[in-house]
Amino acid sequence: MDLRERYIETNGIKLHVMESGPKDGPMILFLHGFPEFWYAWRKQLPYFASKGYLVVAPDQRGYNLSDKPEGISAYKIDELAKDIIGLLDAYGRKQIFLVGHDWGASVSWWVTLKYPERIQKLVILNVPHPKVMAKNVFTNVEQMKKSWYIFYFQLPGAVDKLAASTNYEWALNMITSSANPGAFTPAELEEYRKAFAQPGAFTAMVNWYRAMIQTKQEPPKSFDVTVPMILMWGENDVAMLTEMADKSMAYCKQGKLIKFPKVSHWIQHEAADQVNALIEEFFTQAK
């Protein structure tokens, strides 16, 4: 893979970024989720680079080789969104294509809601609209059975120490046990283990969940998504109920929902060919 490695200043911190493709190509920004890092997009970056796009995949704040500011409030979603806007500025781009998965999808929704003028088109993978997410995580009993870990992570030290003491085995297990067989090879999982072991990374990663519950968001003017978007959804997701995907579309004025019946939460890994082709088709459409 022909990747360039960079460190970029944004919003007062430094993000570690991998990029590929022509520097003057249309830019796609890929935002990974928990507990991944830029490597979540290993099956997307070469594909889109070869099609002439400038593809950019940061380690988000707290992850892998990016800065890990102290404290919980450093990880509130408004800060995470500002990191992304700062990245766009650093690249000198007014508008980009944005693709996000899991927590990266939550950030992508938030960036699009707060800075719609900066996003040309949006692709969301397996995360509902923020309004749907908030409502269901707290009130839907069936969803609760899937989101207990969000609340477990609130406990101080909940996973921070333990993650290291077990050499991150359970975190890797959390990935593989929720994925279809073969989605992650043993060699790939070793790359995740290395990223978890970066000093302070696991605490920072879990702080995303703590900030979600323990800090107040600065809401956008409107919760309607006006830019063209696609929501792709692996229906065999152990963390998210599919009904949340359907409910999300009410907020999307130019949205399309595509469901993948047998695919798990790890959609861009398991259905890479299909996902890549659909995204490419979407981005090349005139509107």
């Binding site: 995580v137 707290f138 009130t139 009993v141 609760m144 059975k145 989101s147 207990w148 870990y149 969000i150 609340f151 477990y152 406990l155 101080p156 030290g157 909940a158 996973v159 120490k161 333990l162 003491s165 077990t166 085995e169 359970w170 297990n173």
Partner: protein
């Protein structure tokens, strides 16, 4: 409770079903009151109440299997509540206790109900505290509806503990934070004594406890399958339900229709949270003294 009088001795007793730790006032001529604690506690939770209970009563408070200082059985089936009830009956047999008053709080309240169904003629009076009544199908449904409309995120710890492997991996080494969390602001303010919480942390730190304690939740599916077959069974002995009415997990709707489940039931509210016997030991003991 700044100055607890430690009125009870503890000892281990080995019976056919296992080895259990027991707190006992030791006055063998006193009429026995058997008190069963809940999660994440131990029989220590009865110390303060015992201080205020009629001295002529003999308090016997075993630690339930997998908790306190009782044995850490790995086999999950042993934690079905009907099985835990058999543990208690066998311990009482070994102590040559025939008839007794029975008290249960939280999971101990469920085990106590199973004891009361198992040996009803031996349970002369029954006190239940802050736990659903297992034969109360209608009340449980109504409570579930309210919980669903209000949001059930506070039940996360139950789903967490039902996960395979994770409680074992995650709680170990972080027992203090884990146990303390469930005593909330009452724990932080010292309304539930720091000594008590330290004791529960000590017990939870015993090898395998994250697994054995989680077994109480992992067997819930088996338990509820059994309880749905109990519809219409009534508890025959006079019963007092003491409800700490600021409990967020056991809500007032859990008490709806409760009178249909007992031949004789009295309900008393106390302004307290879930751990009512530790928040208001004097009031709880006064109600028990009057009832017994």
């Amino acid at each position: 409770m700044g100055n607890l009088i430690m009125t009870m001795n503890t000892y281990k007793i080995t019976v056919g079903r296992g080895t259990f730790n027991v707190r006992d006032r030791g006055n063998k001529d006193g009429f026995p009151v058997v008190m069963l604690h809940g999660w994440p506690e131990s029989s220590y939770c009865w110390e303060a109440v015992a201080d205020f209970l009629n001295p002529s009563l003999r308090v016997i408070a075993p630690d339930l299997r997998g908790l306190g200082d009782s044995e850490r059985t790995v086999d999950i089936n042993a934690y079905q509540k009907a099985e835990l009830a058999k543990d208690i009956v066998e311990v009482l047999d070994a102590l040559q206790v025939d008839t007794f008053f029975l008290v249960g709080h939280d999971w101990g309240g469920i085990v106590a109900q199973e004891v009361a169904l198992l040996v009803p003629q031996r349970v002369k009076k029954f006190v239940i505290m802050n736990i659903p009544v297992i034969t109360n199908v209608q009340g449980s449904l109504e409570a579930m509806k309210v919980t669903q409309s209000r949001g059930s995120f506070f039940l996360w710890y139950q789903y967490f503990q039902q996960q395979p492997r994770l409680p074992e991996a995650m709680i170990k080494g972080n027992e203090d934070v884990w146990v303390r969390h469930f005593f909330g602001k009452e724990g932080r303010k010292g309304i539930i004594s720091p000594e008590a919480i330290a004791e529960y942390v000590r017990c939870y730190s015993i090898e395998n406890t994250p697994a054995t304690a989680a077994s109480y939740y992992r067997t819930m599916r088996l338990d509820t399958a059994r309880w749905t077959t109990l519809g219409g069974r009534k508890f025959s002995m006079p019963t007092l339900y003491i409800y700490g009415n600021e409990d967020t997990v056991i809500i007032p709707e859990n008490l709806n229709h409760i009178e249909d489940c007992f031949d004789s039931i009295k309900i008393e509210h106390i302004k307290a949270g879930h751990f009512v016997q530790e928040e208001k030991p004097k009031e709880v003991a006064a109600l028990m003294n009057e009832f017994f």
